[in-house]
């Protein structure tokens, strides 16, 4: 089903071509060449609205090839009259103009979603900060426990805001091809430790249950980004699981790759939801009330891709498991180690 949905435009176009070919064959005499040319423009427009250059090129070429079959001499791709060549050129011009415009509109709508999501995600912790601070200043709560609660919430919300801003900075860095990765030798266990420090200890409680293979080799990558990968995965696991339920983390290696897996307990997701989890601004359907955005996991995907790896989500026995596989592209040189 999901595959059909993804390629629905191409399926529609294929049937359009079938229909047009049928009409053109049956009503060849009544319609005349001009109208047959015009109806062949239809699939070009449908695909061009998708805003993809290659798709437009393929569809336009297919449409022209079919037209060339009808143009005399019929059933050959040879065209004698110059006038058809002009029509073909106009086909390409129409296709590309629509593609260009569609891309512009698409870029604007992405920007709009970005602004909406960002303002929402920044405003949520900000309103918590403002609300709690105003509460402490204006109502002077006498109960120290109450005061502590409000202040602790301010700290947690500021941390949340800080994480989001850092993710945005990373995302901007990954989007810009001019800034290459700051690659170096990384100790994955160490990066996980640093990532865990970003969270308040009482938020993590005793929930983190990790397994790190004892003979983990060094990994050649961008330590800052890999640390953010861990932070975002922890953040995600905390947000989308029931409180008090454990979060399992494991880092292991095979001869050619690092395998990082994060599991948290929650109700299973639909297959389409699993596949869309890493798309920007996607939020699993049943989670409308959860603060945060689809931003975190899309950055995880960007960071993984920047290291030529893959990231996937699975439904596990009790919840969701996210698995990151990072290929080992550079191996540490054997060092001159001293002995006891």
């Amino acid at each position: 089903m999901q595959l059909f949905y993804m390629y629905r435009h191409y399926i529609v176009t294929f049937f359009l071509f079938l229909l047009i070919t049928g009409i053109s064959l049956v009503f060849r005499q009544e319609l005349e060449m001009t109208n047959i040319i015009l109806i062949h423009l239809l699939p070009v427009i449908v695909i061009a609205l998708r805003g993809e250059w290659i798709a437009t090129f393929i569809t336009t070429t297919a449409s022209i090839a079919l037209l060339a079959l009808y143009a005399p001499p019929t059933l050959s791709f040879i065209v004698h009259e110059m006038i058809y060549i002009w029509s073909f050129i106009i086909f390409y011009i129409v296709g590309y103009t629509i593609t260009f415009q569609a891309r512009k509109i698409h870029a604007n709508s992405v920007k709009e979603i970005l602004y909406n999501t960002l303002s929402h995600d920044l405003k949520t912790p900000l309103s918590s900060i403002m609300g709690n601070a105003t509460f402490v200043v204006e109502t002077h709560p006498l109960d120290p426990a109450l005061r502590y609660q409000a202040l602790a919430q301010i700290i947690e919300s500021s941390r949340q805001m800080n994480r989001l801003i850092n993710s945005l900075l990373d995302s901007a860095r990954l989007k810009n091809p001019q800034t290459p990765l700051k690659n170096g030798w990384c100790d994955m266990e160490d990066l996980l430790t640093v990532a865990l420090r970003e969270f308040r200890r009482d938020v993590l409680h005793e929930r983190i249950d990790y397994y790190v293979s004892s003979e983990l080799p060094l990994f050649y990558g961008d330590s800052g980004l890999l640390m953010r990968l861990f932070v975002n995965l922890i953040d995600n696991a905390l947000k989308y699981s029931d409180e008090e339920k454990p979060i399992k983390i494991s880092i292991t290696t095979t001869p050619n790759a690092f395998h990082i897996s994060f599991s948290n307990e929650c109700p299973p997701l639909e297959p389409t939801e699993l596949a869309n989890l890493f798309e920007k601004f996607y939020r699993a359907g049943n989670t409308a009330d959860i603060s945060g955005s689809g931003f975190g996991l899309s950055i995880c995907r960007d960071i993984t891709r920047a290291h030529h790896g893959t990231i996937r989500a699975y439904n596990d026995d009790h919840g969701i498991r996210i698995e990151v596989t990072l290929p080992i592209l550079k191996r540490p040189a054997s060092l001159k180690m001293d002995t006891l």
């Binding site: 900075l169 266990e189 790190v212 060094l218 330590s223 540490p332």
Partner: protein
């Protein structure tokens, strides 16, 4: 930290400088404020502060130059305050002679802890004792031996030198380059793989849990800090 100290805050952002002034006044210290390099230099020369808190992003130029100038004149603790993702800047500031750093946003607790530990270090007398201790670790510089609790640690010569360097520079941020130069030699300044491998090996021997290490803390992108909670 002794009471009634004079703290120079070099910061152009008003919200941050007000917060810093408030926190230090609360503890009974006096603060001076300079919004740029020029004023900072004047205050340093006329008022002789006990500590300098320096924001690296000053409007009239490079904070590193100020660090070098101060270092040439006086021996007072300098703590750098910097924005995240300025790792190169922080390393350059530490190399120029700054003693420690905090990144924005920071908690005042964190900053005060850094100030205290830096000051303690400035007043510390280097003992000529061959036994150095840090929490439950004791190392004997003369006999090249180390103990954790009462168990002897089996360390290779490089691991021992690394541990010795860490313990002697306890609670201090040590850049990767500096550790490599001091422990391995100048030619090894950029050989990160050695440092990572040996830190890893050392952690396995001295830490109870390598995923939440208590001794060797990683300062991401900068270096390491060896934590000792007991006074020397």
């Amino acid at each position: 930290m002794k009471p009634h100290q004079l703290i120079l805050i070099v910061e152009d952002d008003e919200a941050i400088s007000r917060l810093l002034q408030l926190s230090f006044k609360q503890l009974g210290h006096k603060t001076l404020l300079a919004k740029d390099r020029q004023n900072a230099l004047r205050e340093i020369q006329t008022r002789n502060p006990d500590i300098i808190l320096l924001d690296l992003g000053l409007p009239d130029g490079d904070g590193k130059e100020l660090i070098k100038t101060v270092r040439a004149l006086l021996s007072i603790p300098i703590i750098v305050v910097s924005a995240r993702s300025d790792e190169e800047e922080i390393i350059a500031a530490l190399d120029a002679g700054a003693d420690d750093y905090v990144t924005k946003p920071f908690s005042t607790n964190e900053l005060l802890a850094r100030v205290r530990s830096t000051q303690r270090r400035f007043m510390m007398h280097h003992s000529s004792d061959s036994l150095i201790t840090c929490n439950d670790i004791t190392i004997d510089v003369e006999n090249f031996s180390a103990l954790k609790g009462d168990q002897p640690l089996k360390l290779t010569p490089t691991e021992f030198n690394l541990l010795k360097y860490f313990v002697l520079h306890r609670n201090q941020v040590l850049t990767h380059g500096k550790i490599l130069k001091e422990v391995w030699g100048i030619a090894y300044e950029y050989e990160m793989q050695y440092l990572r491998t040996y830190v890893n090996a050392l952690r396995k021997k001295i830490e109870t849990n390598t995923t939440s290490p208590l001794y060797i803390q990683t300062e991401l992108g900068i270096g390491y800090r060896f934590i000792c909670t007991t006074p020397n």
